[in-house]
Every structure is written in C-alpha cells, then in structure tokens.
C-alpha cells in the first residue's frame, strides 16, 4: 500500500473518505459491512415472513418424536420406535464408518498405484495411468451406482448357496459369504464375555460399551508401553556399547502372549455366517449399499491420492536419491529412508484435503440407499416432518463441523512440519 511521507496539513473533508488512501479502506469496509448486514437482514426477514405464512416457526421439537423408519445398517441398537435424534446419530455414525473405511482403503490403493505409476516397467506404469484417468474423469456418482449395480446384478443370491450341488460357494474356507444381498463376514464372539455397560440410560444418545473391548484395549496399551520400554533400553545399550541387543522376539512376546491369554480367558471365537432358510444368518452383515459406496469412494479417491503421491515423489530432487545410492543404500531403503520422509511433507496436506472430499462425497450414499446422515436427517426425517429448514441447516452444520475438525488436523500438521524445515 502507498504511504505518504509528509501528511497534507489541510482540514478533513468528506471527499477524503474516497480519495485519501488513509481513509478509503475504512470507507470500503464500512460499506461492505453495511451491505452484508443489509443482505443478511433481508434474507432473515424473508425467511421469518415465509415461515409465518406457512405456520411453521423454527423448532427442533420434532427430534424427540418417534422416527418410525428402519435403518438396516447400523452400529448402535435402533428400532423404528426410537426418536429422530437417534436416527440422526445412527446416520452420523454410518457417515463416519464409511468415511474412515474409505480413507484407509483409498490411502492403501492410492499409495500403491502412485508408486507403481513411477515403475520402470512400462506396462505396469501404463495400466496404472489408465486406472487413474478412468477414475478421475468419470463422475463419482456414476461409479457409485455402477458398483451398486455390479453387486446386485452379478453376485449369486443366497438361494444359489443351497442344495447338494450349489452354484455358489462361500469364500475363504467357508467363512465369508458374498451374495447379492450383501457380504457376510465372521464376527468376534466371547463365550465368557464380561458383558456391556449401558451408558446414558434411556436417552436418544444411549450406547453400550463392551467390557471385552475395553479389556483388550487396556492389555494392548500395556503391551505397547512395555514394548517401548524394552526398545528404549535397547537404544540405551546401543548408545553405551555400540551393539544393539536382539529384541524383536521379546517385543513379539510382549505383544502376543498377554493378548492370547486374555482372548483364551474371554473365550474368544468367531461366529461364522451360515445359510438358514432363504438367507444367511450369523456373522456381520455388510449391506450392498455400504460395500458399493465404500468401494466406489475408495477407488475414486485413490486415483487422486495416486497423483498426489506421484507428484510428491517426483518433487524430491533427483540428487537426493543419487546421494542415497552413492551411500550404498538399496532401492527399497532409498525409498523408505530418504525419499518418503521428504515427499510426505508435500503429500500429506493434499491427502488430507482428499480425505475431506471423500467424507463429503459420502453424502452421495443417498443414491444407493445407504442411511448416512444425509439419508436420515436430510432424507427420511426431513420428508416425514417437513422441516426442511431445520434439517438442511443442521445437516450443513454437521458436515461443517467434520470438515473444520479435519482442516484443524491439517493446519496442526502443517505447523509441525514447518518447524522441522530450515
């Protein structure tokens, strides 16, 4: 901005609000604020008037009414007699489930494809390029409905598993059943279970916490703590004597033995899905809608992540890998110790923004009938109660909160990496 070294001595005149750079910015800001307030006031007064005309003032009372619709894929226990609030909570959890699952698989596939795109093997690199271009240039909604169609149309129905000579068989040593009604996988069961703790009594937000899970987590935590102690001791010895004691079998023992003992005490076994009547029962039932959404979102996002990974690796200057090779490191170690740590700084921020995109794209669940927060709060609840304003605003608020949390993580990471930089 321009600065005037010798301020003019004349009196303040009204035209200086426009022509004097010292005042002009204030004028512009006041005007901007004024117009913004005017716009906001206009919108709000319109809304109030419209709502009054329709006779439905803003209220969130409908949340305690019974929802009277069913949600087939859920983490917490829920019936159609539960409230709309509980339905929204189930939906939110479903959104998070598909987002987390999708992020994990998208990262795995994306990193693999990104590295393979740089492969020396011409054919492999071309196949990966083809994959990336296919998924990046076709709308994700099309991939989602396509995945759903594949699951419904091309998989065997549970009926095909019956009879003496069934036309379909279960996979992975008869533990997983892939049918056109969904995938049935084994579930962990405890014959001497510690039971559950019911939290928050009878409210809409009630949930059960499995004591078995807590026990497992506690034991796991203790094991990891002990492992770090052992590893710290090994480091100390290495620093003093220059020789590192072999500790991997101690660490393995610390990790596995207590866990195995605990699992035996709890009577851990797997419950396998089995054909009963016209359908499978037992095991965990992953619905088609979840699988289709998960598959399509992770393959789609993986294409973007692959490009990011490739770009990040290419951005590390060639001298780095040459220097590492000159030190005598093997290609695998060059990648792990020299290239990746530097590339990660470049890769992680856009990667997180892709996680954010995946989470937002999971709202397309509504196209395949997966009951995420858009399907419950922004779908059936909204249609049943006719409270569009409240539902859509809340829906936006929920997504905004998730997004801001994720960008908070990203900013924190960016700050941390910046400190490492010179």
């Amino acid at each position: 901005m321009t600065t005037i070294s010798d301020p003019p001595k004349q009196q303040f005149r009204l035209s200086m609000l426009l022509y004097d750079t010292r005042y002009r910015s204030a004028t512009i800001q006041v005007l901007a604020m004024f117009f913004f307030m005017l716009l906001a006031a206009w919108l709000i007064s319109n809304t109030v008037q419209n709502l009054a005309n329709l006779g439905k003032p803003i209220s969130f009372g409908f949340f305690s009414d019974p929802s009277s619709y069913d949600i087939n894929q859920r983490l917490l226990e829920y019936t159609s007699r539960d409230s709309h609030l509980r339905a929204a909570l189930i939906g939110l959890l479903n959104t998070l489930v598909v987002a987390v699952l999708g992020c994990i698989t998208a990262t795995v596939i994306g990193v693999l494809v990104g590295v393979l795109r740089l492969s020396n093997n011409w054919l492999v690199a071309r196949i990966m390029t083809f994959y990336v271009e296919m998924f990046r240039n076709i709308p994700v909604l099309l991939w989602i409905v396509f995945a759903m169609a594949i699951l419904i149309e091309s998989l065997p129905s549970p009926r095909d598993f019956r009879g003496d000579t069934p036309s379909a068989t279960m996979d992975l040593f008869d533990t997983v059943a892939v049918t056109n009604r969904g995938v049935y996988i084994p579930e962990p069961l405890f014959s001497r279970s510690l039971g559950d703790v019911h939290l928050l009594g009878d409210s809409s937000l009630r949930f059960d916490v499995s004591l078995d899970l807590i026990a497992i987590l506690v034991v796991l935590g203790c094991s990891i703590y002990a492992m770090r102690k052992v590893s710290a001791r090994a480091n100390r010895i290495q620093e003093q004597t220059g020789e590192r004691p072999t500790i991997w079998y101690i660490e393995l023992g610390i990790l596995c033995v207590p866990m195995l003992i605990l699992l035996v005490i709890l009577g851990f076994h797997l419950g396998y899905p089995a054909l009963k009547g016209f359908n499978f029962s037992g095991g965990i039932h992953l619905r088609n809608s979840l699988i289709a959404l998960w598959l399509a979102l992770s393959l789609y996002t993986a294409a973007f992540i692959a490009e990011i990974v490739r770009g990040g690796i290419l951005a590390v200057s060639k001298g780095q890998s040459e220097a590492a090779a000159a030190l005598g490191l093997r290609p695998g170690k060059i990648m792990r110790l020299v290239i990746l740590p530097q590339a990660l700084r470049m890769i992680i921020p856009p990667m997180i923004s892709n996680y954010l995109n995946l989470t937002k794209n999971s709202s397309l669940a509504i196209a395949v009938g997966y009951m995420d927060i858009t399907g419950t709060l922004g779908g059936i609840t909204m249609n049943q109660t006719g409270r569009e304003l409240e539902c859509v605003l809340l829906l936006m608020l929920v997504y905004l909160t998730i997004s801001l949390c994720i960008s908070g993580v990203m900013n924190w990471y960016n700050k941390r990496v910046k400190l490492v930089e010179r």
Binding site: L51, N53, N120, N121, L123, N137, L141, L142, S363, V392
Partner: protein, 456 residues
Amino acid sequence: MSDTHAETVTFVRDTMLPEKEPPLSTVGAIGWVRDNLFSGVLNSILTILSLGFIYYVLSGILPWVFQSVWNADSLTECREIMVATWGDTHGHACWGVIKDRWLQLFYGFYPPYPAHPDANFGSAPDGHWWPAYFRPNLALILLIGAMIPVLFSGAPRKLLYLTAAYPFILPWLLWGGSVWVPLMVAAGFAIGYFAYVLVDRSMSSLMATIAAVLLAILWWVFAVGPVSGALHSILNIGIAPVQSREFGGYMLAIILGVVAIGCSLPLGILMALGRQSDLFIVKTLCVGFIEFIRGVPLITLLFVASLLLNYFLPPGTNFDLILRVMIMMTLFAAAYMAEVIRGGLAALPKGQYEGADSLGLNYWQAQRLIIMPQALKISIPGIVNTFIGIFKDTTLVSIIGLFDVIGLASAIRADTAWNGIYWELFAFIGALFFVVCFSMSRYSMYLERKLRTGHR
C-alpha cells in the same frame, strides 16, 4: 631410448577403428523391450502378470462391446437376437438402448417442436422439417466458437465478439422467447459503458464507475421488462419458448457446467483478492464464505437450492429450479476457484507486488497487469481441475430430481422395454464424461507447456 621399451611395444595403432553398430539386443524394439519390460526377474514377473491381467480384462470386454445387438426396440428383443445369433445372452452388449434413446440421453425432454406441444419427434407438424434440437446444437457450436479465441492464442481475434455476445445468445437459444429480452439486457452494459465514458470526462473515474453500475442496475431492474415488452408488441421476433423443467440429459450437464465454470472464475478471482486483502472485514467475509461452502457437500447446497431458497426470498417469488441450481453451483465452484487462485497469489514472490507498487500502479492496475497474469498462470492446473470437478459434479442434480444423464438412465430402466439394462447405459454415460474431462485435462497440460516461459 631404452631397448626394453622398443621390445615390449611391438604395435601401436595410429588410425581409428570404424565405429561398430551397438549390439542388436540393446537397440530398437528388442532393446526397448529388454529395458522396459524384462530388465530383471521381478520386472519380468510383473510384465507377465500385467499381460495376463490385460488379456483377462480385454477378453471379457471386447466381445461384449463388439459382439453386440444394435437393432432392437426392447431388452427382450435384444436377448432373442442374442440367443438366435450366439446361443446365449451373456457377454453381449445391447446397444439397441442407446440407438433407441440417444436423443433422450442427450437432450432430456427438450421438446422437438416447442411451438406444437402435441408433436413428438416422430411426427413433424406441418411446415416444420427440423426439430428444435438445433437450438442446443447451435448453442454448443457457438460455444466452441466463443471458446476458441480464449483457448488458443493463434485463433482470429474477431471471434472475441462472439465470446462477448455468447452470454446473451445461450439463454435465448435454449429458453427461447422474444429476442428483445437478451438484447435489452445487453443494452444495460452499453448504457453502463456510455455513462462511464461521459462521467469520466467531467468527474473522477471512481464517480464514473459508481454512476455506470447504478445506471445499469436501474435499467435492468426497472426498464428491461417494459421496454422489451413494448418492442415485442411492435416487432414480434422470437422463437418458441421452452420451459426449464424440460431440460435434461447430457445437455443439462453441459449447460450447468458452462454457466458454473464461466461465472465462477471472475467470482473466484474477486473472492481470492478479498481473502488476500488488508481490509479486515472484507477478508473475514470472504474467508467465512469460502470455508463455509468448502466445508459442506454440494448435495446439501443443492438441497438449499431445491428446498430452502424459496424461504430466503420474498414471499411469492418462485423462480425456476434450474436457475436456482445454477446459482448454487456457481457459488460452490467459486469458493473452490478462490482457493486455487489464492494459492497462485501466495506463490508469487513478494518482489512482484513491491515492483508494481514502485512503478506507481494503483491496486487494480497492479492486479491486472502484474499480479493476475502470473498468479493465474501458476494456478492453471488447479483451475482446470476445478472445472473438471464441477463438470462431474453436475451429475448430482439427479438426486434432487432433475433428469440429467444418470437420472435418465434410471428413468429408461424403469420403462418396461428396457427394464434390467445397466452396463450399456453406464458405459455410454461414462464415455460421454470421459471424453470431455479428459480433453480438458490434456488442454491444461498443453497450456502449462505453452506458458512455461523459462525459469527451467
């Protein structure tokens, strides 16, 4: 001279040997294959696995694509033909559905003869020999013409007039109606321009800008309706109007994409500048808007367009859904565009801003002549990616009940004749989007190469 030396060196070559060809196994096709496909054990295994994979995929897809039925009016007929020809119904595409419904997939329910509501595509009313599909087609051709001078610097500059006129031609061609409305809207810009020129002579340029904007807005709000109505009653020139609810198909995706892309770039630039500015309130407003839009999924904004916008506007306003969707998609695209351009602005060295200041340029001059050309150049890949993203996201309108290609695919499947047809429709729709998005990304690569003016 020692004798030993003379004895040991018995032969000294004093001419060059002729150069030999490199071994056959390291050059040409064989060398290339050895280098790129079979350079090691692992590489060879990967190559063989990939070949197997490619064979597996192609052996499934190619027969499906090419051993297919084109001439059929329903899926049952398709299957009968397949059984008669190949003996089974699996592994053969039924492209009959595309042949039967391609008009619908491209144009949705756009009326072929809008002046005659009862006429359908098969039966042309008297005096009409071509259907109104020429209107979207012409709009597309003009669009390409209008884009050429923007996209390629070698194109004739005169085409820029078409570019300037295009925003008025597009709605008129698609929605139809009196020719006077777009002309009068365009006249608003002319009025603004003349007001600017006149006031600029007598007063400052700031006053001229304010006067121009005010006059143009007054003209659009109060004069366009009556004046064009009067002109229409004097001289009735126009084409038959088409309702927006009849828009659909791939045409809808292109319209929404073009409008959102065209409007979001200037809006995005403004918001990026606002976000970078020193003015606290302007900056806060821009940041709040951008982060809000980027934090919510597009589908919730489309819900706002289809359900809530009527609450926010004065009672009784009811303007059409496509327009509302266009507004929301533009805002959505603009927020992403603003972030991309902000990245470009941030990547410019500070010396560029200081250099512009030291030349005595004011803010807008500096932006126009120094900052923006460089910032936009840096952000081209990001801008094109946003374009591609927006174009793909236009498919989401099928969720709020508009009949874009994906919505039409379900509608076609709901028809008894084509009940149960999936893959042909998906393949067709995917190909439509792939062609456009892929060309966009290739164009951005071309532009990047062309604008790389050194530094490397």
